[in-house]
């Protein structure tokens, strides 16, 4: 579309939001070749010939195409040079980091395909490459941006090695694992990786997505993106159920879990159901020494986007209280189409203390940021 775009006069930005910590930012590449600099020749060749392979029918496009160009991007987030939204640091600074004087932006890369890759050696190589790419393209030029350690959980030794390699590097604040894998993440075969995360001081970011090859719902493959989008909630719900009921938090008490891009209003009712079921079925999981909801309260955080919009806006307040104000962390999901703007995401006035916690203090404490 051919438009004359006038310079936007900056809107007066409410002080409450300035300096917030954005717990979900998506960087992208201007060219897929950017990863080559961090890959051995063998894998550069493999990328060129075979390419990434996960567990779906379409090699390149989404099973469920999104609603806007660029596979679901904000239409005004295309940088001036026409490259992909999220691929241009100066534009990201202009639209997000500088605009709101963001303290920290936590990167959640959905590029590189390392997490769901079936060739696990290749997956591990791409994970390392994507981690290096985050540092070189994003964190080093703008230290407000923090990286996530990507790993392929089906290659246990490589994943643990990658986690240990990044330990102590404060440019990395968490390990990122996609929820939709071959098996629920609470299963024992993943425990060594979970242990490594905790032992090395990394919370685990469970950003929605993944390609485990299973239908998006327990009742089979949906037809529409209209169903796929909310099906991520069901994935988060079963993820929480798995982590709790498998006794992961008994086994690894200092493990911290962040649920990213799943919304959060569903969490209280899930906890009530877990507690009720456990009352009757605790003999099946005797290693659980507390009610399930207590594990959730102690070890699980949520990011806000896509924030639910209660029909009565004030119901947001009770929802937040049921989860715990110290558990909720604001995120934009820039530059995706369904991102939340910090000024308008909440349709109800929050008490000042809650705003401080949700926009800044909770993330600062969890990730041990200055």
């Amino acid at each position: 579309m051919n438009m004359t775009v006038m310079d936007r006069k900056p809107e007066a930005i409410n002080q409450s939001y300035l300096g917030f910590i954005d717990c979900d930012v998506h960087p992208f590449f201007k060219s897929p070749d950017e990863f080559n600099a961090f890959l051995p020749e063998r894998w550069r060749e493999h990328r060129r010939t075979i390419g990434g392979r996960t567990r779906v029918g379409l090699a390149k496009a989404s099973n469920y195409p999104r609603m806007s160009p660029g596979n679901g991007q904000r239409m005004d987030a295309w940088p001036p040079d026409g490259t992909h939204p999220g691929s241009d640091l100066p534009f990201m600074q202009q639209q997000l980091l500088d605009l709101f004087n963001v303290s920290y932006g936590l990167l959640a890369p959905l590029v590189g395909g390392s997490g769901g890759e079936r060739n696990v050696e290749f997956g591990a190589a791409m994970a390392t490459a994507t981690n290096e790419w985050q540092l070189a393209r994003w964190c080093d030029p703008d230290p407000r941006l923090k990286a996530a350690v990507l790993v392929n959980v089906e290659h246990q030794s490589a994943a643990i090695a990658e986690i240990e390699k990044r330990a102590g590097d404060r440019r990395f604040v968490q390990v990122q694992i996609p929820p939709r894998g071959l098996e629920p993440l609470g299963r024992r075969r993943y425990w060594p990786i979970l242990e490594a995360c905790a032992a090395n001081g990394f919370p685990i970011s469970l950003h929605l997505g993944g390609a485990g090859g299973h239908p998006s719902t327990g009742g089979g493959h949906p037809s529409f993106y209209h169903e796929e989008h909310p099906s991520y909630v069901q994935s988060m719900q079963t993820l929480v159920t798995s982590l709790v009921c498998e006794g992961v938090f008994e086994h690894i008490p200092n493990l911290k879990i962040v649920l990213v891009e799943g919304g959060f209003a569903w969490l209280p009712a899930l906890c009530w159901r877990l507690d009720r079921a456990w009352k009757r079925l605790h003999a099946e999981v005797p290693f659980l020494r507390q009610k399930p909801s207590e594990y959730v309260r102690q070890s699980i955080w949520v990011t806000t986007q896509p924030i639910e919009e209660p029909e009565r806006p004030r119901d947001m307040l009770s929802t937040l209280e049921w989860i715990g104000i110290d558990r909720v962390m604001f995120s934009t999901d820039y530059p995706h189409w369904d991102q939340d703007d910090p000024r308008y995401a909440f349709k109800v006035a929050l008490p000042e203390e809650w705003k401080r916690k949700i926009y800044s203090e909770n993330a600062r404490a969890l990730y041990q940021l200055e």
């Binding site: 438009m3 004359t4 006038m6 904000r74 308008y344």
Partner: protein
């Protein structure tokens, strides 16, 4: 209400938009199907720059599996959460009665008329040979 000359008609090609600032507010002026429309560049949902969204058709569907396009290019879709607004009335598709984008009335006037005034010329100097897009704010 005052009248503002914002563009010559040639400046805004069919299917495109010019964003102008009038009295401190950004307004998108659209050329759609031989008519001009103006909408406040702010989505009522979360404040997105509405006029940087896409012009699409109105979708009608009498039954599942049946798809019809009407009113080509007359729905403005917000660049963020894809809410759709009728370019003529500003009504949102999903909540026509309660969610509105603010619209402004638009006229096309020949330069000769405008030269006689009264008007407030904002960004566009007027000559009598051309036709101009005028919005009422």
């Amino acid at each position: 209400m005052s009248r503002h000359v914002v563009a010559t008609v040639d400046e805004i090609a069919p299917g495109t938009c010019k964003i102008v600032t009038v009295r401190g507010r950004e307004i998108g002026v659209f050329h759609v199907n031989d008519e001009f429309f103006a909408i406040f560049n702010r989505c009522p949902h979360q404040g997105a720059p509405l006029c940087r969204g896409a012009l699409l058709s109105r979708l009608e569907s009498p039954a599942p599996g049946e798809y019809r396009l009407t009113r080509h290019g007359e729905m403005l879709r917000c660049p963020w959460h894809c809410w759709e607004f009728d370019i003529r009335t500003g009504q949102s598709w999903c909540d026509p009665d309660s969610v509105l984008a603010r619209t402004f009335s638009v006229d096309v006037e020949p330069g000769a008329t405008l030269a006689r005034g009264p008007f407030e010329a904002e960004t566009v100097p007027v000559t009598v040979e051309q036709d101009y897009v005028v919005i009422n704010v």
